[in-house]
């Protein structure tokens, strides 16, 4: 039942006012700050024992064969769906008895149809998802019991379950009708957006933990770059004059600050990208075609304060991580004044943000390590799912009751996969 989840969070919030956030310094050797009281502790919750997940056994064409066709899926930023499947298969929360399961997981890799460049094409994804749901609804009774309200799916693509990379088209399509009642675990998050359903869990995009680990530099290397960013400002292939890409925000950053010595911004791909982030105080995380990006994960891991330029964005695990305290939020309309905004932050606030970022549980919550470790993103997803329990009695239907329209949506989606 969702309402109990919200009550739980409300109590935690009240507890925040009681137990103020205070620096928890164990002498000089531990410079991190523990987010005591409120949401911070939630990061360390252990989901084992709080929920049970049943993993459907689908034919391998939904998962293994796709992966065999293109193993690049394991390394790109949408790889969370694959790793979540692997994690759940061997996790203690998994149950083989569907009768006692609280949540049902359908392993279908919808984001693994890659172009030669490595970008996923979402054109077949709605059909794939639909076909998977048809399979589970005909072979097991649990889908029809609730029409998916106790099922969860991983849709890490650009606009989640809208299955398109262009925002206008995604909005037109809307969330796949069959997923209207299920819980969606996705990377996309924007308030009041069609493609973000209420009750969805936002996760960080996948960033390879080993690769980041190998690029760590000594802590005492002084941070000498003020603002750091590497990436496109103008998407020359699709939007040469700017204005569409990133809603003009990235282009505005470039035009306003390209000759500013404090801003180390360029479109190059240096091999020292990770090392440079560790030498920077602020890292820009502006939106691109979609508001989320792996830069946020990288900034958190490397202790660089993320400057988030994306209006109305919903950040990963927003109910567990106090992003307002950790990052700096800049409205897109304020981008020309970015230097004023950043330099007017008092140094004590900056130091505090860096202490919060240094908290190892923060970094752990952003990662998908293999094998899974306590406190990592897999566990945060499970925590999120556990917080939504128990399911409201009203989601269970009497036999024969139907809500979903199986023929809704564009005609092309109805073709079998």
């Amino acid at each position: 039942m969702e309402i109990w989840g919200w009550v739980f969070i409300g109590i935690l919030f009240l507890a925040d006012f009681v137990v103020k956030i205070e620096p928890f310094k164990l002498g000089r050797s531990q410079p991190t700050e523990r987010i005591s009281g409120s949401a911070g502790d939630v990061l360390e919750d252990n989901p084992v024992g709080r929920l049970k997940v049943f993993v459907y056994e689908l034919p391998s064409k939904y998962s293994k064969k796709i992966l065999q066709k293109d193993p690049r899926c394991l390394n790109h930023m949408f790889a969370a769906e694959i790793y979540m499947h692997r994690f759940l298969l061997s996790s203690p929360v998994r149950t083989l008895n569907p009768e006692e399961a609280d949540w049902f997981y359908t392993p279908v890799y919808t984001t693994c149809d890659l172009t030669p460049n490595g970008l996923p094409l979402p054109f077949k994804s709605p059909r794939m998802m639909r076909s998977a749901i048809q399979l589970i609804s005909s072979n097991w009774p649990y889908w029809n019991r609730t029409e998916g309200a106790d099922h969860f799916f991983l849709v890490p693509h650009d606009f989640g379950a809208c299955f398109h990379y262009q925002e206008e088209k995604a909005i037109e399509r809307g969330i796949l009708p069959l997923l209207q009642r299920a819980t969606l675990v996705q990377t996309f998050g924007q308030r009041n957006h069609v493609c973000l359903k209420e009750g969805s869990i936002t996760i960080p995009p996948y960033a390879p933990p080993q690769k980041m680990q190998t690029h760590l530099i000594p802590d005492k290397t002084p941070r000498s770059i003020f603002v750091y960013f590497r990436g496109l400002f103008y998407d020359v292939g699709n939007d040469p004059e700017g204005g569409y890409y990133a809603r003009g925000a990235r282009a505005a950053v470039w035009e306003n600050f390209k000759d500013n010595p404090l801003f180390d911004i360029s479109t190059e791909h240096p091999t020292t990208y990770y090392e440079d982030m560790q030498r920077a105080v602020f890292c820009l995380c502006p939106l691109g075609w979609a508001p989320w990006s792996p830069r946020l994960v990288e900034a958190v891991i490397f202790g660089c304060i993320p400057v988030i330029i994306a209006d109305d964005i919903v950040l990963p695990f927003a109910d567990a991580i106090p992003w307002e305290e950790i990052g700096v939020f800049v409205d897109e309309k304020d981008v020309p004044n970015l230097d004023t905004i950043l330099t007017s932050i008092p140094p004590e606030v900056i130091l505090r943000k860096q202490r919060l970022l240094a908290n190892p549980s923060m970094k752990q919550a952003m990662l998908f390590p293999q094998p899974a470790q306590p406190g990592d993103a897999f566990h945060q997803v499970l925590n999120g799912l556990a917080r939504k329990l128990p399911h409201d009695k009203s989601v269970y239907f009497k036999p024969g009751e139907r809500v979903l329209n199986w023929t809704a949506g564009p005609v092309g989606d109805l073709k079998p996969w």
Partner: protein
């Protein structure tokens, strides 16, 4: 996917160059397009073809001519296929007008406050760095770095007491500036004790006053002699004088000996903070090898272990002090410099003072110090190396990962004994003698020489020296030094003349 091949030719880095083939591909939108949309699509296709022929964006031209709107368009346009907007970077004033009324979102019923479609690129009127902001940012960076140093750097750093013997000479400015700049960069508290042979002089005082460090400048009555042996002995006495100052003023910290011609790395000052009582670091010996290259080359073929120009502690396997590395001076035997301005190699002592650091408490009269430390008042200044300060050399702590890291370099470079230089390196009065250059950029200027004998000599001398410059690269350093010396000679002889006038 057929158009994919066409689109693939526009390779975008890292992103979606490929994806614009999408709309034509997604089967969902195909069937139901309004006539208006079809019309605009045809028009769009037509202008694309014309643009291909003409080479610029034709549609832009058409709409520029057709449109009647003002040059400043509002930032948010309604973005559909129905209205192509002008592509103008909208320049808005520094404080934007509060509420730009958002146009009603387009037909794709989104209830997001953020509008999809083309937005203007906001550029402020003066998109250049603001100096006030830049200074604020630098202060923030400094604060962050101080905090980093507090957290990850040395805990409880002690003050560093630097003892430097010096005397006024041509190369003093070069050497002392180098040491001074290194010391100015040290992030810890510092006291610089400068002991000057020949008494306190304005020359040295004005040089070191520029540093902004805390300086104790004392004079030593003897003048610096002309031979290296004597000079080393005098320097030892001067250093002991410095140590006596530490004792008198009861300075607390780590004493390090910086000779003015040495080069220090910043890591040295971090590393010596680890010394408890008496530490030793490895010193790189940059002995200028001249004229003995051939013999060295022969010997190198015979030896198995190549000689390292390093002096410092040597450790055994369990990282305990086992002995000392010293610089092998045998190849230079008999050919080393005796006088300060000799062209031969200057040899270091067996163990240079600059490789040792001590806790200043060892020098205090009373207080708890280990009993292996000799009292400096009982010494006469006739000690050969700093190890003579302690009764038992095994108490020395090897620093810099047991001497494996070389943290400073020893170098001795001096000018000729009779070389003169302008006091404080200010040319006053201005030079009267000017020597015309042989190669001017203006070819028609006749190379007239004034009828003064001296300049002719001045020009010819370097020519002579050039012809003798047919050396191998190894001796380039030495010949360059010689060249420098002759140049200073030339100038100083010029000075002599002007001073006499």
């Amino acid at each position: 996917m057929k158009l994919s091949a066409l689109q693939q030719s526009y390779l975008g880095r890292r992103s979606n160059s490929f994806r614009s083939s999408g709309p034509l591909d997604s089967s969902s939108d195909g069937a139901f397009k309004s006539p208006a949309a079809v019309f605009w699509l045809v028009l769009h296709g037509l202008s694309c073809l014309i643009s291909l022929l003409l080479g610029f964006r034709f549609s832009r031209l058409v709409f520029l001519l057709l449109s009647t709107s003002s040059t400043y368009t509002s930032p948010f346009h309604s973005p559909t296929e129905l209205a192509k907007t002008l592509d103008i970077r909208s320049v808005i004033p520094a404080d934007p007008v509060g509420n730009v009324p958002l146009p009603f979102p387009n037909k794709t019923a989104t209830n997001s406050r953020v509008v999809v479609g083309r937005h203007g690129i906001r550029i402020r009127p003066w998109p250049h760095p603001n100096p006030v902001e830049v200074m604020k940012a630098h202060r923030i960076i400094e604060r962050v770095q101080t905090e980093q140093r507090l957290q990850f750097g040395v805990k409880d750093p002690r003050k560093i007491i630097v003892v430097t013997p010096t005397y006024v000479r041509t190369f003093q400015s070069l050497h002392l500036t180098g040491v001074m700049h290194s010391l100015m960069l040290v992030p810890y508290d510092l006291v610089w004790i400068v002991v000057e042979a020949g008494g306190v002089s304005n020359e040295t005082a004005s040089l070191i006053a520029k540093s902004g460090l805390r300086i104790i400048h004392v004079g030593f009555s003897q003048r610096m002699p002309n031979s290296w042996d004597e000079r080393h002995k005098l320097e030892t006495k001067m250093r002991l004088r410095g140590l006596r100052i530490v004792r008198e003023k009861i300075l607390d910290g780590i004493v390090i000996f910086s000779d003015d011609s040495n080069m220090h790395s910043m890591e040295l000052f971090d590393e010596i903070q680890n010394a408890k009582w008496f530490g030793a670091v490895s010193v790189g010996i940059l002995a200028n090898s001249a004229n003995i290259d051939e013999t060295v080359v022969e010997k190198r073929g015979e030896e198995e272990n190549p000689r390292m120009p390093v002096q410092g502690p040597a450790c055994n396997v369990s990282n305990m002090l086992a002995g000392w590395h010293t610089f092998n001076t045998l190849p230079f035997a008999g050919k080393s410099a005796v006088y300060i301005d000799d062209r031969a190699t200057v040899l270091p002592r067996k163990l240079e003072w600059s490789g040792f650091v001590l806790n200043s408490r060892l020098l205090w009269k009373d207080g708890d110090k280990p009993e292996w430390m000799k009292d400096i008042d009982t010494l006469d200044g006739d000690i050969e190396s700093p190890l003579d300060l302690v009764k038992d050399p095994s108490v020395v702590e090897p620093l810099g990962s047991c001497g494996r890291r070389v943290l400073l370099w020893w170098l001795r470079v001096e000018a000729r004994a009779d070389s003169k230089f302008p006091p404080r390196w200010i040319i006053d009065p201005p030079l009267e003698v000017t020597v015309p250059s042989k190669r001017t950029p203006w070819p028609d200027t006749p190379p007239e020489l004034p009828s003064h004998k001296k300049p002719v000599i001045g020009i010819q001398e370097p020519i002579i020296k050039h012809t003798t410059k047919t050396r191998t690269s190894r001796s380039k350093r030495r010949s360059k030094r010689k060249h420098d010396e002759t140049r200073t000679d030339r100038r100083t002889t010029g000075f002599d003349k002007t001073l006499q006038n």
